[in-house]
Every structure is written in structure tokens, then in C-alpha cells.
């Protein structure tokens, strides 16, 4: 049985189609640039906007500086488990893949966190596959309670949960929850999510609403570019989703991430690769139509691109990441989710930000409990 359609899903289903990206004319782009809005986003994402990339980047940078100042938040993902009961054709943790699985014990999670804290991190994202027995609500509560003194900002990127569980996690000290929809295209979603909890598109999409209503104050959303045929439609859906969430949950902060598919144990190849220039265009366009949304960039992307995007639109970055459970202290003992591109240390990334005129912000929260 699938979950009922959430409020944003209903909004999205009623949204008029953007039409074909190749039909956009330069005049449409100029109009959209003059007064950026969600209505104009398809034009800003179109091939016709490519010649305006520098202009878009400049406008985006201006807005980013205005809203977020000369500061970039740093965080590290802490993979607690790669056990998974969902089958997703693009993911290195997918159920059934013959890979080494590992779920950290709570003391192991604390040890990993300590090694990250020594490097400066005070914002961690606990990441896992979808395994509600190995990574249960009780397990997450125990992790958060064990970490909250050391790490004032704790977010999760796990399976989706019920309202009650989100409220329990918040009560334990959870600050943020990240749920990528991966693709907002229902047909494509069904093709790549072949089995398990994650197969339910509507449950997944409504989970951010449930988290917000349960008191989670930082909401992360995103799409995995390269998964569907039409990355522009996914970027548009992400932007619509972010602004919709801000409108409906005024106490929350919304961050957006647009990871591009990377090499993983799944062997998945993107249907349509998104070029670097298109990627920068997407980030700049997103900033123009959603000036108050935080934009997160992971170490999936190479160093030079990350350095460039930090000057344009990005407000939060991971650094020195390992995508394997236990990978900070004992690398090589379990399957990683994907290969990282930017292999610089956190200190090197911080130094890059400083030399670009930004303050690397390690701590931007206080223990909620």
C-alpha cells in the first residue's frame, strides 16, 4: 500500500508544464533575468540561457553575499551504516549488491565523530542506507544523545520516518533532516526504485513535511542529477519544493543539494550527463529564484568546480568526506556509497575559503538539549 499524496506532491502535480527547454528564446531569458522568479526558472535553465552564464553567476553571487555574507558552513557526513533494504539501481548500498556491509556501534559512531571534531567539525550529517532494524529509531536516538554534547548540529540522512519518530529524534537533539527525492518524475522514480521502503514516491516526498511538522528545523532536499532524462525538470521541482517549504514552514531553514551521479558499486550510468557549465547554470539559476535557500555542495564534485561554486551560490560544503561506514578511522572495511572527487582535507578546504575571502564556519548552532 502506498502512502497518501502529500501537500507539496499535490501542488507539484498541478504545476503547469515548463514546455520544451529548446523552445526558449533569448528574449525569454532576458525577461527572466530582469526579474527572477520561479515562473522564469525554466528559461534560466534552458540552453538559450547558456550565453548569459556569466551574467547569471554575477547576479547569483551578489544575492548569495547579500543573504549569507562572506561565510560558508562546513560539515562532514558520518556514514553509520550501509545496510539497506531498498533496491535502487543507481546506489552503491542497494539491497542485493554483493558488497561488504557494516553498521557502526554507538561507541564507534562517537569515535568517528571525535575524529571529525578534532579537525574542527561541529556539524555532522549521520548517513545510512535504509534498514529500519539495523538503523532503527532507537539506534538514532542513542547516536544523537551520545553526540549532542560534542556536536551541536546533528542532521540525518536515513530512511523516512513517522511523525512520532521525527518528534522523538528532535527531542533527543536532532536539528536537521535530509530527504532527497532523487527524481521528481514519478515514472522514472518507479523505474529506478525497484523495491523496498523507498519505492513509495509519495511517502518519500511527504517526509519533509512530516519532519517540519514534527519540529525538525533544518530541512534538506535535493535531486540526483543524471537519474532522469530531464535534469531541468528536476532542478525546477527542487526549487519549487524549497520555496513551497519556506512558505509553509516559516520557522525552518531549507537547504538544497543537486548531486550529480557518481561512479558506484551499482555500475549505474547517467542517462544524460550534466556538463559542468550546465551544472553551474543550474546552481546560479536556483540562487536567483530562491535567494534565501541554502545550497549544499558535497565532495562528489571536483575541487576546482567546488571552489568556483563557493564564490557563486554555495553556502554549505562538506570536506574531507568518507562515504563508507567507519571510513574516517578504519578505511577500507566496508563498501563506500560513491567515490569522492575532492579529496582535500578539511583544513585545505577551509584555507581555500579563507583565501577566497570567506569565513569557514565550523560551528553555527548550539546544543538544543
Amino acid at each position: 500500500m502506498s502512502a497518501p499524496r502529500g501537500r507539496f506532491a499535490t501542488y507539484l502535480d498541478d504545476l503547469p508544464s515548463a514546455g520544451s527547454a529548446s523552445d526558449v528564446a533569448a528574449a525569454d531569458v532576458e525577461l527572466a533575468l530582469a526579474r527572477p522568479s520561479l515562473d522564469g526558472l525554466p528559461a534560466l535553465l534552458s540552453p538559450a540561457a547558456a550565453p548569459y552564464l556569466e551574467v547569471m553567476a554575477r547576479q547569483a553571487r551578489e544575492l548569495t553575499l547579500q543573504r549569507f555574507g562572506r561565510a560558508v558552513r562546513l560539515f562532514a557526513p558520518l556514514y553509520v551504516s550501509n545496510a539497506c533494504l531498498s533496491s535502487c539501481t543507481y546506489c552503491g548500498f542497494s539491497k542485493g549488491l554483493d558488497v561488504t556491509r557494516r553498521t557502526l556501534s554507538v561507541p564507534e559512531v562517537v569515535a568517528e565523530a571525535q575524529s571529525l571534531a578534532v579537525q574542527g567539525f561541529r556539524h555532522l550529517l549521520l548517513v545510512s542506507g535504509e534498514h529500519r532494524i539495523e538503523v532503527s529509531a532507537n539506534y538514532l536516538v542513542a547516536c544523537i544523545e551520545a553526540l549532542r554534547e560534542l556536536v551541536p548540529s546533528i542532521s540525518i540522512e536515513t530512511q523516512t520516518w513517522s511523525d512520532d519518530t521525527y518528534a522523538r529524534l528532535v527531542d533527543a537533539g536532532l536539528e536537521g533532516a535530509v530527504h532527497y527525492q532523487e527524481t521528481y518524475d514519478r515514472v522514472r522514480y518507479a523505474e529506478v526504485h525497484t523495491a523496498g521502503w523507498k519505492r513509495d514516491y509519495d511517502r518519500r516526498l511527504a517526509s519533509t513535511e512530516r519532519a517540519a511538522e514534527s519540529g525538525v528545523r533544518r530541512l534538506g532536499i535535493g535531486a540526483l542529477l543524471g537519474l532522469s532524462l530531464d535534469w531541468r525538470a528536476d532542478v525546477r521541482a527542487v526549487a519549487e519544493h524549497a520555496v513551497w517549504l519556506q512558505r509553509h514552514y516559516w520557522r525552518t531553514e531549507v537547504t538544497v543539494s543537486l548531486p550529480r551521479i557518481k561512479q558506484s558499486a551499482s555500475g549505474f550510468q547517467p542517462l544524460v550527463p550534466v556538463t559542468d557549465a550546465e551544472y553551474v547554470q543550474a546552481m546560479a539559476a536556483l540562487r536567483l529564484v530562491a535567494p534565501e535557500v541554502g545550497i549544499v555542495l558535497s565532495t562528489r564534485e571536483p575541487a576546482a568546480l567546488r571552489d568556483g561554486l563557493a564564490r557563486i551560490a554555495v553556502t554549505t560544503m562538506s570536506a574531507g568526506s568518507s562515504t563508507e561506514p567507519g571510513g574516517y578511522l578504519q578505511p577500507g572495511q566496508a563498501q563506500e556509497q560513491f567515490a569522492v572527487s575532492d579529496e582535500r582535507s578539511p583544513a585545505e578546504v577551509a584555507a581555500m575559503l579563507e583565501s577566497a575571502g570567506y569565513e569557514p564556519v565550523w560551528k553555527d548552532a548550539f546544543a538544543l538539549r
Binding site: 562572506r70 561541529r122 516559516w250 520557522r251 579563507e354 569565513e359 560551528k363 548550539f366
Partner: protein, 263 residues
Amino acid sequence: MKDSMESTTGSLVIAGRVFTSRLLVGTGKFRSHAVMREALLASGSEVVTVALRRVDLTRAGEGDVLDFVPPGMTLLPNTSGAVDADEAVRLARLGRAATGADLVKLEVTPDPRTLAPDPIETLRAAERLVAEGFAVLPYCSADPVLCRHLEEAGCATVMPLGAWIGSNRGLRTRDAIEVIVAQAGVPVVVDAGLGVPSDAAEAMEVGADAVLVNTAIAVARDPVLMARAFALATEAGRMGFLAGRGAILDTAEASSPLTGFLA
């Protein structure tokens, strides 16, 4: 009469502490701690506010923002990030435990987009913090009645906003500030939104006791020069206020009147 006006030296007195400079500064948004430090020095300010959420209270002296605050400046920890009275009180207590300071700049901003201060939760938090012995400096809307309430609750100052925080839009709340200044029995510190030195001068000219400036200095092309400019403007505005402006007339009036020969 206000504390600040009672002093013949023109000093600013907040919670029994005497300051010569009427420019308070912040530590956010600077491109580096080193630049921040230079700007703080150039500002001549004696009070600097620091966001407790940005300070690692568990880890002493590892390039934290506090290590870059020039010695001798009074630290004013702030509760930015708090979304309700409970969080603000909790944060203020943490700050006092870590820094020993009983001063707190109270900020309660449940909406992360506007960062507009929540008047209801701010007042609630102020009442509790005053009862716990804090000297409370509340960031608040430019609302004369709210400022009355905050003063009655025992706050050491009121800190009405000049414009949306970080907006550099100037003294958009001028009409309200004039009323607040006229009625206040505690120092009025115009906080937030002042974008250029002349905005600070304007706030001081209408009678504010001090201004707090952060973004305008931090994001300037040359933060150190901008800090100095704000210091001069604040002082100029204060002198202008004390000097007393001439009446505003509808028509021209010659500076040498026709009957001048009688003198």
C-alpha cells in the same frame, strides 16, 4: 533623565558600565578573523557582540572568533539562533557559564528568512533573564510600546532595529525611533540595518544613545576603513544631537537679518 545623559563627559552607561565610544560592533560575516580584528580596532568600539552559536565553548583557544577580539573590549554574547524564550535563556546561561559575563544581547528570531525579532518571546525571555541577574540588552522591533515593556521588565537598554538585519537599508524606522528615544529611560541602541556611516550619524542625531553595526562594516570592500568611518559618523551624529539643530522652516531665512545693524 537617561543614564547616558547624566554624565557630564557624555559617556554611554549601560548596566553601570561606562563607555566612551557609542559605536557597538559585531563579529559576523567578516571574510576572516584577522580582518575582523583590524576592523574592531579601527572602530574604536569598546563593546563587541559575539554569537554564542558560533563560539565553541568546549574548546579554548584554537583560532576561535574570541581569540581575535582585541583585549580590553567588553564582550556582549548574543543569543542569535534562538527561536523562542526557552532557547534564548538556555543559551544565555551557557554564555555566562563560559565567559563569566552577565551581559547578554537577547535575540529571539524564529523566522530564519527575515530574522525579525519575536516581540512576545523576547519579552518573556527578558523577564526571566533579568530575574536571573543578567543585564539584558534586547534586540527588538522599533515599537514604542514594546520598548516600554522591555524597560519595565528591567532591561539595561532597548535595541530597536533600524531596518531588517543585514539589509544595509538605513534608518527606515526613524519615526518610531524618535518616539522611543523621547520616552526611554534606558539607553536606546539602534541595532540592525544601518548601511553607511551617514545612517549611523542620522540615528545619533535623532537622539539614539548608541548604534550597533556589523554587516555594513563586515561586507564593505575595506572593512577597516568602513569601521573608522562609522566611528567618526557616530561621534559626529552625537555631537550634532548635543549641539541642538536649528528649527526647520518652510521658507528661506537670511543668516544676516535686515535689522542686524541695530546690534
